[in-house]
Symmetry: C2
Subunit: 230 residues, 2 copies
């Protein structure tokens, strides 16, 4: 069972991630062409903010100061987003679906190791807020209209995953309590990060499914190889 420090780390990381998801979705909403799309994306943004509030509440109930719990994760998450600014609306959609998808898989995997109450909270805040249903038909329609987009968006998705894995490794490396949540204490003390590597490898399976849903190219083998070699 994870120690309290690790739990605070995980909830702090997730809280900041949800806050940033709120900002990013609001921005996407503002850029949407139609009022209906603006409203739909705005609703998803508001749902993410609700998740942030719940996580902040849980941090307080654990005796943590939410701002302090989030603090260590501001730089890596901001770095991820600064390095993956979408050049256009479609890249934004792919980022929201593919990037948030792999992040959610990561958090869910970690949550398996939490106490039931916190596991339930993490699963709740990671429930899809309708994003997939919004993104998939729009990206598929764009690719059908202009098939050259598939290659460009596949490359973009690859970059997103690469940057996400790089920042995830950084976070785990810098936060021993969080690393302890990820591996059994015994493994951690032996310096064995094998379980983390295996988890990252598993994440790419779910990622492949998302790429297929978007109608994007089949390049998953290469990412798995890169992740395993990392």
């Amino acid at each position: 069972m994870a120690g309290t420090d690790g739990v605070v780390d995980l909830l702090g990381l997730l809280a900041y991630a949800e806050l940033v998801a709120f900002f990013r979705l609001s921005e996407d909403a503002a850029l949407a062409q139609s009022l209906a799309d603006k409203a739909a994306l705005g609703e998803m943004a508001v749902a993410e903010f609700g998740h942030f509030q719940k996580l902040r509440e849980e941090l307080r109930s654990l005796g943590a100061v939410p701002e302090e719990a989030m603090g260590p994760f501001v730089a890596p998450l901001d770095a991820f987003h600064a390095r993956t600014v979408p050049a256009n609306w479609l890249e934004g959609l792919v980022k929201a679906y593919v990037g948030d998808g792999i992040a959610a898989d990561f958090y869910r995997a970690v949550a398996e190791l939490l106490r039931p109450r916190q596991r339930a909270l993490v699963m709740e805040v990671l429930a899809d807020t309708g994003h997939a249903a919004f993104v998939i038909p729009r990206v598929r329609a764009a690719i059908e209209a202009d098939p050259r987009l598939a290659g460009r968006l596949s490359l973009w998705a690859r970059r997103l995953v690469g940057e996400a894995l790089a920042q995830a490794h950084r976070v785990v490396g810098e936060r021993p309590p969080l690393a302890q949540v990820l591996v059994s204490t015994a493994d951690y003390e032996r310096g064995d990060q094998g379980e983390i590597g295996r988890m990252f490898a598993r994440l790419t399976d779910a990622h492949d499914e998302r790429m297929a849903a978007l109608g994007l190219a089949d390049w998953e083998r290469q990412v798995e190889t890169e992740a395993a070699a990392d």
Copy 2:
């Protein structure tokens, strides 16, 4: 009593204004320095989105298509915001408080003429979401630290009001049903827009109070003169 078209116009205008307020506040939240400020502004943004949802619901219950009801007001509101992009965080705070304040006074004045149910809705969505309490101490503290800011921010506020009045006149001029909500039908048919002018003049009184609350310069006479001459 206002005709249905005028009510739909007013609720459509207000709905789009709330949607834009949501986008702008989310952006301010993303730019805030501290996590606590990000969260506080995010909460206000989410409250504005809730107002948007209620207005959209009311439009639907009147048999209107919300996107169509909002449509005519997209251009003037977007024009206002495009012409008043804050150059920095403090200008953003002043815009949120002074700009939204005068807009809220305008909507409240119009709502006086609505049926009780819709009047109550408008008053509810215009209730302060904590913005004043957030902005006032921050602007006052900034001016105390650097008194030269007072002049610059006063000029900025003057520009905001000028642009707001210009767009409000444009909206009223282009939307006869909305103009009918503003003046009695008889006055409207005589082409008498005197009541509208008097209303705009009254708005500046509440505006003066907000300027004083921010500790900004006493320039209200000039604005009143300009508004009356417009």
